[in-house]
């Protein structure tokens, strides 16, 4: 009865992210070495901002002390509200809009940026309660935010980003000098 092969239930089968999302990267955000962001773009144009596996927060056994979505006195990403199908009222973000600041227990602080233009739909509040999600599942449950690009920009927003292949080759070229703290 079935049209396709019945079982592709292998352990190495593509994950949910592999199946439905395209990975895009922004390397060395704002010139800061290795502060790589990964954008997961769904085929319906929705984007999920995550930390790339190479991000310093995920290196050297760091642990997270705090995550702050209050990016300035007047603006908290936690206050973002969208309503209706058209997602009215969401904060509009540009490439370099900060989403949150993450402080590690070693007192290093990192700012996570939007990387793409679009309307902020939600930020991940689960990582406030359970910061370890960010370390354990950075590309799924430890996501940072969900952004909806403008319909007409859904193709062009990724033009400035690196594809997975481009990013992998960039990472492999990162040589010893960069792994030493400056």
């Amino acid at each position: 009865m079935d049209c396709t092969g019945e079982k592709e239930a292998e352990a190495n089968a593509p994950s949910v992210v592999d199946r439905y999302y395209t990975r895009w990267y922004r390397a060395d955000m704002k010139g800061k070495p290795c502060e790589d962001h990964c954008i997961l773009q769904h085929s319906n144009r929705i984007c999920v901002v995550t930390l790339a596996h190479t991000h310093p927060i995920l290196q050297d056994g760091r642990t997270i002390k705090s995550i702050n979505y209050q990016i300035s006195n007047g603006c908290s990403r936690l206050k973002n509200k969208v309503s209706g199908k058209s997602k009215r009222g969401g904060q509009f973000l540009t490439d370099y809009a900060p989403l949150c600041r993450i402080t590690c227990t070693d007192e290093t602080e990192y700012t996570i940026y939007s990387c793409i233009r679009g309307r902020l739909l939600e930020v991940n509040e689960s990582i406030l309660e359970t910061p370890s999600l960010l370390l354990e599942k950075p590309s799924t449950e430890g996501y940072i935010a969900v952004i909806l690009p403008k319909f007409e920009e859904s193709k062009s927003i990724t033009e400035n980003l690196l594809s997975r292949d481009q990013f992998d080759s960039l990472v492999s070229k990162r040589t010893l000098p960069q792994t030493q703290p400056s």
């Binding site: 079935d2 239930a9 439905y20 319906n44 929705i46 969208v82 309503s83 799924t140 996501y143 909806l148």
Partner: protein, 542 residues
């Protein structure tokens, strides 16, 4: 004529010299006897002329009137019993374009009235003259027959150029004084509308041409007649400057001068302003209206049933990304094709009680669906024919199957959507677990009852649905162990529960999820809908 009295004489005189046709004269005299309009307009003109020229008017009036009054009850009988000639039949043989003026014979018979007769009416622009007769009726009947519609009755609809309202208004102002003398209470609304008179004349003729089919005021089958008159389109333009509010451009309109807008503007404009900007009475046109193609439209027929989908590479509706097709077919197209040809419909709208993803099968009794069939040329199929249609659908593809196929009412369709949120649905999912599992590791799931989930709108559909946290209940689950990484999970859930997201967690946006319950990453490899528990449409015994 009929209710024509001495007081009508100045009105008739004024209208005739303004260039009104005889039927428009009757309209402005508020004559509401239908038969009066069905007489050949040349005859009416003669009668009117005789009436106004006769100082001792009582006798001619009576003769003209009595004939018509007898006729009044036999609405389909057009030719008056007292008429010696039969001009409409002659007319029928003429081409509509050539029928602008009466033939020489008729003109001669009219005795020196050639000018008045051949002139196109300043108000109706010829619609109540030669565009209103057997030839036009034959053309309408021909259009209906060509499309081979199946129908018992039809309703005639008329679309007139908007400038007719302007001309009507001008003419009304022209004789308003005289009309008010006739009766103090007479108002613009009392004037018989062109549309009305046109229908009184044409309904019987069309009926006759179609072998006695009822031409009525309400029918599921509408035959639309449209007239345009490019020569006088500019008549309306001055209104745009007097009432700019009424003429705002919108996307779908070809012109801002719609009938509605013009009527509204005419209600607003003051009398002196109108008279200043527009001739009163209206100017003489050189040509009469152009009849457009006849438009036939049958009201939608609704068909409902249940469908199975046996294929994991078949979308429910055509799947387009950036205007390009992703899969070659779809459930709705497979179902619709035979139905469209059976009902000879122009198009369809498909709706269903929920929908499944392209890679999900729908088994069991299937998913309720309904279709609106647009402009069906055939609207009645017997139970046996519906059964045959169902069989034809089922024979056409292995990928889907249809049951309980039936004709339903528009209202009944809403029952399907009502049931959508309240009813339960059953699924079977093939689950993968990251950590190896033992048989006993999953049995606890069978004991979970009425588990309430908080589901944020899945990212998968967030582009088209509002962001919200929705509470959905999983009533019960059953497990069937397959191997150390796989098991089958049966679920009975409240409709509207997103199963895939319950299994993989959707970035932790569905809580709790199967990953939480099993304390390992889980993924869904296959999903089948086992039942959609909506008791509509009624089942039809095989």
């Amino acid at each position: 004529m009929l209710s024509l009295k001495d007081k009508d004489k100045p009105i008739i005189q004024k209208l005739l010299s303004a260039g009104c046709c005889s039927r428009c004269v009757l309209r402005f005299c508020c004559v509401s006897v239908q038969a009066a309009y069905r007489r050949p307009h040349q005859h009416t003109l003669q009668a009117l002329k005789a009436f106004i020229s006769d100082t001792d008017n009582s006798k001619p009036k009576e003769t003209v009137a009595s004939g018509c009054e007898q006729e009044n009850n036999k609405s389909h009988d057009v030719a008056g019993p007292e008429l010696p000639e039969d001009p409409p039949v002659k007319r029928a043989k003429l081409e509509p374009g050539a029928a602008v003026g009466p033939s020489e014979e008729e003109a001669a018979a009219g005795g020196g009235m050639k000018d008045e007769e051949s002139r196109v009416c300043v108000v109706c622009l010829g619609i109540l003259q030669d565009l209103c007769g057997t030839a036009q009726a034959a053309k309408i009947a021909e259009a209906v027959k060509t499309e081979k519609y199946e129908f018992d009755t039809l309703v005639l609809s008329v679309s007139l150029p908007a400038q007719l309202c302007v001309r009507e208004h001008s003419c009304w102002l022209h004789v308003k004084g005289e009309l008010r003398q006739k009766s103090i209470a007479v108002d613009k609304d009392d004037v018989i509308q062109v549309k009305e008179a046109f229908k009184w004349i044409m309904q019987g003729l069309v009926s006759k041409e179609l072998g006695g089919v009822g031409v009525v005021t309400r029918s599921p089958f509408e035959v639309g007649v449209e007239f345009t008159h490019p020569e006088t389109d500019a008549d309306c333009h001055f209104l745009a400057s007097t009432c700019p509010d009424c003429f705002k451009p919108t996307k779908n309109k070809q012109s801002v001068f719609t009938r509605m807008a013009v009527v509204k503007a005419l209600e607003k404009i003051s009398e002196p302003k109108f008279l200043q900007r527009y001739p009163c009475p209206p100017a003489q046109p050189t040509s009469s209206c152009i009849p457009q193609d006849i438009q036939c439209l049958h009201v939608s027929v609704f068909v409902a049933g249940r469908y199975n989908k046996f294929c994991r590479s078949l979308p429910q509706t055509p799947w387009l990304i950036d205007g390009e097709r992703r899969m070659e077919s779809s459930v709705e197209e497979l179902i619709a094709a035979p139905i469209l040809s059976a009902f000879r419909a122009d198009g369809f709208n498909f709706s269903s009680s929920g929908r499944e993803d392209v890679d999900v099968r729908t088994l069991g009794n299937g998913r309720p669906f309904a279709m609106e069939l647009l402009n069906p040329h055939r609207s009645r199929l017997s139970k046996v024919e519906m059964k045959q249609l169902q069989e034809a659908i089922n024979a056409s593809s292995e990928k889907i199957r249809v049951r309980d196929l039936q004709i339903v009412t528009r209202d009944a369709m809403s029952r399907m959507k009502e049931g959508e949120e309240e009813k339960t649905k059953s699924y079977t999912a093939l689950i993968w677990t990251q950590k190896p599992i033992q048989r006993e590791d999953i049995t606890f799931i069978d004991d979970i009852k009425d588990l309430t989930l908080d589901q944020k709108t899945p990212l998968r559909v967030l582009h088209r649905r509002a962001l919200a946290v929705r509470q959905r209940v999983i009533h019960s689950m059953t497990t069937r162990y397959l191997d150390s990484h796989h098991f089958h999970l049966g679920l009975k859930t409240q409709a509207g529960t997103y199963i895939k997201e319950f299994v993989h967690g959707d970035f932790g946006r569905t809580k709790p999820n199967l990953c939480d319950l099993l304390k390992t990453d889980t993924d869904i490899l296959e999903l089948d809908v086992e039942s959609v528990d909506v008791d509509w449409p009624p089942s039809i015994p095989e």
